[in-house]
């Protein structure tokens, strides 16, 4: 029984962190129409940045704040150098350019950081026990941090002018331009937010999963299936399906080794694509 609760909690935390990555993908897609294949790599960069900051300063909490901001700044640069040139062009231009970006980022990290996995000691050691079940405190913290981020995003989208503009632009770019919304700045902010979330997911998961250069490509399939099943561009879709995927992965992990559980979680979601090819929350474009 304990193992069941433990694995479901594990899956829930994993799903919440995961939803952060998928959310960034969907935000960027909604505003710029870009499918950012390199998004997993920015998650990996977040974890690497957190590791380097912890090694240099010894403080995880500082790293948790600085690493996501660094990734956000990096994505703002990438946005002005690359994304703005490709966002209005055919699908294949954006996809291939971001694939190129993935190769550049992953291999640069491999060349500088190295291929060996590194670990960060848990910043909140100890476990929380309740009725025979004990669960690491830090993982609970990571889950709550993700939930807090979703709430902040909700408030941001619904209470600020930028949030209003970010919701308006995907609905009708022409109308948004006509009433004077600063399209470029809103797009840049959205891409930056996507980077912030990816970096945060990376920093949060570094003490749980470790840090290695291939962690981006490993989350890529899962992040994409969350995005496609939830509906490309849909914010609630990314969060709901992310959590569902995480929990089902946790349930499978009760009786399977982790990699098999991950594969099975994808395989179980795949029939959804046959039933609703354009996602549960998708508009069908």
């Amino acid at each position: 029984m304990e193992i069941v609760v433990f694995q479901i909690l594990n899956g829930l935390v994993f799903g919440l962190v995961f939803a952060l990555i998928a959310l960034g993908l969907n935000l960027i897609y909604g505003l710029t129409g870009l499918i950012n294949i390199a998004h997993g790599s920015f998650y990996m960069l977040g974890a690497v940045a957190a590791y380097l900051l912890v090694s240099a300063t010894g403080s995880f909490w500082l790293a948790l704040v600085v690493a996501p901001l660094t990734i956000m700044a990096l994505l703002l640069v990438v946005n002005s150098v690359l994304f703005e040139r490709i966002s209005q062009r055919p699908l294949e231009v954006g996809v291939l350019a971001t694939v190129g970006l993935l190769l550049v980022v992953d291999n640069t990290v491999l060349a500088t950081f190295g291929g060996a996995p590194e670990t960060i000691p848990s910043p909140l050691p100890g476990a929380w026990s309740w009725g025979g079940v004990s669960y690491p405190i830090y993982r609970l913290f990571a889950g709550f941090a993700a939930i807090l981020t979703f709430l902040s995003l909700y408030l941001f989208l619904n209470r600020t002018p930028y949030g209003l503009w970010m919701r308006a632009m995907p609905q009708s770019p022409e109308l948004a331009a006509a009433i004077g919304i600063p399209l470029r700045r809103v797009s840049a902010l959205t891409v930056g937010l996507g980077g912030l979330f990816a970096g945060l997911a990376g920093a949060l998961s570094a003490p749980i999963f470790g840090v290695y250069f291939e962690m981006g490509i490993h989350v890529l399939a899962l992040a994409f299936i969350v995005v496609v099943v939830g509906g490309l561009g849909s914010i609630p879709g990314a969060i709901v399906v992310g959590i569902v995927l995480g929990i089902s992965r946790g349930v499978f992990a009760i009786f399977l080794p982790p990699t098999s559980a991950e594969i099975l979680a994808v395989v179980v979601l795949a029939p959804m694509l046959v039933l609703r090819p354009n996602g549960i929350f998708g508009k069908g474009l």
Partner: protein
């Protein structure tokens, strides 16, 4: 002289450059001798098939596919595992490998054509990454990163005997298959099926209204593309005798796409020309510095941003524009109309 030039221009550069490239490939073993270069030339053939397959999946299946490498690996693994487990002759096992890839592609194609283009592309990424994870998970069958060896090397088809390996006869076998395929594609260009495919490419709804089963054509194209990638996988196993799960890695598909895009997507010979130029460069660069993928990634970005038509596509366009002095938009309209107009004509005849 002027007459010859005019005729060449009207036929486009694709065929001309393609013929040059084929001659170059067939004659290159005269200059580039030794096991290393035979291996590189063999890679040119295998990666060309990957790129040609991508081109067909993209141009006629309408799917930007990251799963070509998956079909490549699937076919080479099916053949190698079949030969290891049974005493099926190598030629038959190779055929089974190619058919496995083709049928898998066809089945998956049926699902993909029901999705919109963006989701279909993402679905191929999911497929590629998941099979890579699965292949490494079941390393007791796939051998993991250490790989497995092709246990039988005697290929015999109807009295024709060949010891496959990193040797010239295997290279020429691959080259003949590749060139035959390209010539067949070029020749198919006049057929009714090709016209239907072109019509679908330019205006899917119009083609559907004319009564063609667009989804069947697209899924079929995707299956053929997967089979072609599978042929590449079989030839790869023939030549190097050893396959690893790294064949399932997403980067294999990315290389195929890079060669196709560099040469020119939508042309017949472009993907092959792209592979012919880039594969030796890639091999030479990787002997100079290990993290060659950083350079490859930059090349992909620069290419797709600045030369999205590829070298054959860009040259061809420049060539035909000089010839006809049409501006771009008119030419595109004419192209689009030609697709359906030809179709209607062939329907009525």
């Amino acid at each position: 002289m002027r007459e010859i030039l005019r005729r060449l221009r009207s036929r486009g550069l694709d065929g001309l450059l393609g013929t040059l490239a084929v001659v170059l490939l067939v004659l290159s073993p005269l200059l580039l001798t030794g096991r290393y270069w035979t291996g590189v030339l063999m890679l040119v053939v295998c990666w060309s098939l990957l790129a040609v397959g991508f081109n067909i999946a993209f141009s006629f299946g309408g799917i930007l596919s990251f799963a070509q490498g998956t079909f490549f690996a699937l076919s080479s693994y099916s053949m190698t595992l079949l030969v290891a487990a049974t005493d099926v002759p190598l030629a038959l096992a190779a055929l089974v490998g190619v058919l496995t890839a083709g049928l898998a592609g066809w089945g998956i194609g049926w699902i993909l054509v029901r999705m919109n283009n963006h989701n279909a592309t993402i679905a191929t990424v999911i497929l590629a990454v998941t099979t890579f994870l699965a292949a490494n998970r079941y390393r007791e069958h796939t051998g993991g990163e250490d790989g497995i060896r092709l246990s039988v090397r005697d290929l015999s088809v109807g009295g024709f005997e060949l010891q496959v390996g990193n040797n010239l006869p295997t290279f020429y076998l691959g080259a003949i298959l590749l060139v035959g395929l390209l010539v067949a594609l070029r020749w198919l260009k006049g057929s009714v099926h090709w016209k239907v495919l072109t019509a679908i490419k330019y205006n899917e709804i119009r083609a559907e209204t004319l009564g063609f089963n667009v989804r069947a054509y697209r899924a079929g194209s995707f299956g053929v593309a997967a089979g072609i990638a599978g042929l590449g996988g079989v030839l790869y196993a023939f030549s190097f005798g050893h396959i690893t799960t790294s064949l399932f890695h997403l980067s294999l598909s990315v290389y195929g796409i890079l060669y196709a895009v560099f040469g020119g997507v939508g042309t017949v010979f472009g993907p092959f020309i792209g592979a012919l130029l880039l594969v030796p460069l890639h091999e030479e660069l990787s002997s100079l510095f290990v993290y060659v993928d950083v350079a490859i990634g930059l090349l992909v970005i620069l290419l797709i941003v600045f030369v999205p038509r590829g070298i054959v596509g860009a040259l061809d366009r420049y060539w035909s524009q000089r010839n006809t002095r049409m501006n771009r938009s008119t030419e595109e309209l004419v192209d689009a109309d030609k697709g359906t107009a030809n179709l209607v004509k062939s329907e009525h005849s």
